[in-house]
Symmetry: C2
Subunit: 242 residues, 2 copies
DNA sequence: CGGGCCCTTGACCTGTGTCAACAAACGTGG
DNA sequence: CCACGTTTGTTGACACAGGTCAAGGGCCCG
């Protein structure tokens, strides 16, 4: 079970000291993050601490239904957004990577819509809601960035439906592999638990397992380490649109 | 075939005269629309014509790939957002109803991400991109509304995945019917072509047809007119979470 | 009245879910 | 560091939901 609530018990979030505006300004990933377009003067508007928080694999950034008090910029790692279904099952509706923003709904004063769980060791910046609100009231640059973030979320959600939840199981797995490969250069890609794969693709754990196993037998995937695979992009692309 | 491109040929969009700011101010559905929170002074910022455009059933508001020059507020009717798949098939990723906004991606200078097609006679207001841009640069009220629109899109996309693309076909149809019923009071709901139903649920036309037919035989649905059905909400709710 | 179009239904077959067993990997505590 | 229990991945057998292909019927429109 990769249930976030349980995970919180065993895992532990590591909270770093407040870095403050100087750090934000010089942040290594700022150009891809929420604060990308901000100018020096804008940072003076930050009046609340922005914490750097790391999450162990399996721990939750936040849970569905929690009051949304902050957004999170993903500095590195991988986060799944989980929706729990009426029947108790779960469905992963999106993945967030370095540069992505989690919990935008907090900016509207809403509760979080999903549970966000780290799939790998993940580094984040926790930005209090009020900080973003104040910035976006005072600079159109923040405003534009927010629109882009929202648009990206919608686009990813749509792609998730059309690419990962459509077609037969083999094609879905192929598309997922291709999606994982891009965004981490090279021909390699890192997989995760079969249960999570199933929850992303809308198939059972067994089906996910069977297909990965078959891909390995046919040489489309070659294990090069702990859940790390080398993949035959050619073959996958062919399978992806079938 | 309910292909938007063909539809444009037979259908015809009816363009009304420009109503201008006075009309917007007094618009009957403004409180639910994009301009909901605007104040009187804000309307002075509108410097381009906002056309009222009606679309016949089957005609397209815009096509995927078109340069996004405007957003559309749906005044009444029903619009499907269609994504075309690699294999030539199509998938409906969302439905827009009165008060919803279509084509928000235009505000970022992007091409339209989908093809938007009227499922019923639909009345819209076409708002040029520059109008919204200028408004949102000058009033935080526009800004807040836009955020809400984006959030709503994401939420709907996620719900589409978890409710309409998960579980067995019967449950999906049941959830679709419940979704159609809400938002048009009463126990009634209006269906559309089986092909469209299939494209929404990720099943074939035949499966959609079979299930609707079965629901009619078992009395869960009762036809009360041209594609209009009375539905047993109890039974549907039971089927929906199975 | 004739031609399409869409809905419905049947027969058949394949893909996936389900249930169950086992193996491998992992973590934990002695 | 090893032994044990737990979790996770793999595989098989089987059943069934849904896809596919094909035919027929109703309805609207020209």
């Amino acid at each position: 079970m990769s249930d976030g609530r349980e995970s919180l018990v065993r895992g532990k979030a590591i909270e770093a000291a407040w870095r403050g505006q100087a750090e934000c300004l010089g942040c290594g990933i700022r150009e891809t993050a929420l604060f990308a377009d901000l100018r020096e003067q804008d940072f003076a508007l930050i009046h609340l601490p922005i914490d750097e928080i790391d999450f162990e694999v399996g721990t939750a950034l936040y849970h569905v239904g929690d009051p949304g008090q902050a957004v999170y910029t993903i500095r590195s790692g991988l986060v799944k957004l989980v929706s729990y279904l009426a029947d108790g099952g779960q469905r992963i509706v999106r993945l967030l990577r370095a540069g992505d923003t989690a919990g935008l709904e907090a900016l509207l004063g809403l509760e979080y819509e999903h549970t966000a769980i780290a799939l790998r060791q993940t580094a984040t910046c926790r930005i209090p809601r009020e900080v973003v609100t104040r910035l976006s009231e005072n600079t159109p640059r923040m405003h534009a960035q927010l629109m882009q973030r929202w648009q990206r979320s919608v686009q990813q959600a749509d792609a998730w439906l059309t690419r990962l939840s459509t077609g037969n199981a083999k094609a879905r797995v192929a598309r997922l592999l291709l999606l994982l490969r891009e965004g981490q250069g090279g021909e390699q890609c890192m997989l995760f638990g079969r249960e999570d794969m199933g929850a992303m693709l809308g198939v059972t754990t067994e089906t996910a397992s069977r297909i990965v196993a078959e891909f390995r037998r046919t040489g489309i995937l070659t294990e090069v380490g702990q859940n790390r695979y080398d993949c035959d992009v050619e073959a996958l692309t062919r399978l992806a649109d079938s």
